[in-house]
Symmetry: C3
Subunit: 352 residues, 3 copies
């Protein structure tokens, strides 16, 4: 008898068509267990996500799950259909958090192929997908675009007509805040939240060293990435990765984003909600044993149309490995300071 | 004053009598936290256990806990009374999953000694126990036999009359499915579940390479095994195990079963419920740093008496360490391919 | 633009005044996820905290959270305000557990500075704080004193008038048991609890070797310490700690307390509730890879005023690293056996 062909091999570049709709497995009910584990692995301390009482005082029904936990769970579902044969995760854009996620919600994900461009070497191509995470009521909680470089199964397969979507450099102010209820600013206790600085205290151009560093262990990133049901092989299989150019398991890029966000509490404690991710670049890989540091620059401070409870801060957070950020390492010549691993541009909301 | 004798030393071979009833400590309420941690450590992705919405659509009140999580928690309770002085866990048989376990249920365990046979060297003997896990309503959720080789305290202690229970090679079809409610097959969404293949698509003799590999870390297996309140010393104490013949902490055999089951999702995504374990053999030990792979053979495809919603697949899943399973490593001569660590025979249910 | 000054640098010795009231960030709702993770990392098996059914049978509304989980969460909140610039955590006293904590409760913490004493070298001083953990109803769940040696920012800063609080050697019997409801001793099932020995079976002077050993991994202590939102840098940052005198990340002292408590189940299974901590000393640091052992001495057995359901055992638990405790290692000459890492004096309650 022939070996079974029931094992999923993942899509190759020539398997994608612009307009394809992909409904992803496996839906997931997220709960307090996920929140506790997320907290224990990343060390987030933002008060609204930590304490039901704090959340309820300012206008949430209870503590929402961390925005990035929802992001990673939605992202994880897309891997088997989009990036199982990916060479690299190239970028994110237009990521909007549209609905708060609470314990007990069930998240599922769909993606649409919105762009395709074969590389000149004909061995691979870039696939653009717009992915949406939905809750059990069908409400969109999260919507974002990412693009990945995917291998071809057969380099002789014909190239598709190139389609490169037009993506915004940044999410517009009118798209921010849908997941954030009206905040009772008078009830927002800054002492409990860990910082006296509100939206109006930040200025464009301000640079904040988040000071602390955190060393990552193999067990930690594996546990987190499996919590997200992200099945990318490079994170889990030392037998095969030991033979790769790095000789190591690669840590999921989203792990770095969550670590940097948690570190940013020290300096940005009241920037309690990520409203959008404008773009992000994984500049270099992270491996177990490395220590992650981060700093942020305030790119802009903007009012939100029709709201005077919270305002938006456009932040650029840079994470490094094995290098403190007191001198704000960043771009350097054509590239980056060699310690930089993440360059993330996002909108966070803070009370006014 | 003499040192206290209040510390449990565990039973030795001569402490067991056929017919002994053992009520085990410690009962345990299992919840969403356990489910999240189980998911994060093993990476299970079966939809019925992952999403309350999926489970409710097909006929469960909500997502049940993973069958093996219930198994490990029940098994863990038996260790202090049965196998604290075990040399080896020799086998399992007649393991039937009789009732779904839900978050909030409290599991407790009892065992009956059903067989005893001293080894010819008079240093040890084989103890057979039938163990039952019960929920807070006293309903049996799980019933299985295992046998272990246990040290004698005193080699001169008289040998008991040998009693070797008659155990079935496989659990009969009439004993399968009690823990599985009537499944609404029309509501079973194969796309969300991750595979188009239903019960009828599998054939006896079919071999499925589950492809992926997962490297195990010390922290992972320790965290999991403690979650199960399994107190076997060999899993946790490097100071003593460093002086053993392996020089390493041994990973709980059930950890391998759960990893193999999670890997089997790739090829068996719709085999959503383990109805019974016919037998299992831990062929070789697993250590931290090793990478586990798995493949399965369909031994049989059978209808369940009186049910046309789900059918049974008898599966043999073999796990290896540090060796991909594309060529289906298995028995070899008198023994096994040296990479094989687990040979498990079980019944899983899938929608028809 | 200047770098931001919004990052918390922590208080230095000269920033404290006797009478200062510190309201700590971040409140935290604790739940089943925290309980599962605590259980999985420390391996606690006390029945009242493990099974809702057991807890309900004896008089709790449901399983309370482990006493030490509540302690660590409260302690964690104080770090950013009290000990971010600490050189050493010198001691605890007068720690009373006043109210059981249940899943869903939200814990917050406040501290009062109750003593200050500059060291003769003028580089640092000792800060005494009384900290209280409260639940969402404002009830005090936990009240304790700790003292830490804190760096001065400027050695020339004037010394405060020395104030050293008068602290009890042990918590008085009248202060024990507020967190323990009336226990239905007839319903206390000793088999399920794991030991036949009740309060009256212990004698002052009795020594109990807890036998088992548990090796600690970096991922485990980091995950636990972050679960407690304890931000002390020494536990997480190998980049900086690699340059310290130890060259290693230090494990949070509370981690050792929880491991020793979990190990003490073997011999003290019915000492189900920690009512008070009289004092504790972290004699030497613990590092990942070390194996922790523990033994306990019964210092006293006392009736509780007005109660005949439970009695108090004053216990001294000593933990070691990489050294079994069969010969009860303890003080030695002026100091301690070199393997000792913890010397803890506490009151536990057990059924009569």
């Amino acid at each position: 008898m022939q070996p079974s062909t029931k094992t999923a091999a993942g899509r190759f570049f020539e398997d994608f068509r612009v307009g394809d709709q992909l409904r992803h497995a496996t839906p997931r009910t997220v709960g307090e267990g996920d929140a506790a584990l997320y907290s224990a692995i990343f060390g987030a301390r933002f008060a609204a996500q930590s304490a039901d009482t704090f959340a309820a005082a300012i206008g949430y029904p209870r503590s929402p799950l961390d925005d990035l936990l929802a992001f990673h769970i939605v992202f994880g579902k897309t891997v088997a259909d989009v990036s199982l044969n990916a060479i690299a995760n190239l970028g994110y854009a237009d990521c909007r958090f549209l609905k708060a996620v609470y314990p007990g919600d069930t998240l599922s994900a769909v993606s649409e192929v919105i762009g395709l461009k074969e590389n000149s070497n004909r061995q691979s191509g870039v696939v653009y997908v717009r992915s949406q995470g939905r809750n059990q009521r069908g409400e969109i909680v999260l919507d974002y675009v990412r693009w990945v470089m995917v291998r071809k199964r057969d380099s002789a397969a014909p190239a598709p007509r190139p389609v490169v979507p037009d993506l915004p450099d940044a999410v517009g102010l009118e798209s921010l805040g849908a997941a954030c209820p009206p905040i009772g600013v008078a009830q927002y206790d800054r002492t409990l939240a860990g910082s006296p600085y509100l939206w109006g205290d930040y200025e464009a151009g301000e640079r904040i060293d988040h000071v602390d560093g955190v060393t990552v262990e193999e067990a930690e990133h594996q546990i987190a990435t499996r919590l997200f049901q992200n099945t990318a092989k490079v994170h889990f299989n030392q037998f095969s990765e030991g033979q790769s150019r790095f000789g190591r398991r690669l840590i999921y890029g989203g792990h770095v984003i969550s670590l940097a966000r948690a570190l940013s509490f020290n300096g940005l404690a009241n920037a309690f909600h990520i409203a959008a991710i404008n773009g992000g670049r994984h500049v270099a890989p992270l491996f177990a044993g490395d220590t992650v540091f981060a700093w942020s620059e305030v790119l802009a401070r903007e009012e939100l149309p029709g709201r005077n409870d919270v305002g938006a801060l456009r932040l650029r957070t840079i994470a490094t490995k094995n290098r403190p950020c007191g001198d704000f390492p960043s771009r350097q010549g054509e590239g980056y300071d060699p310690a930089v691993i993440l360059d993330l541009d996002y909108w966070a909301l803070a009370p006014r």
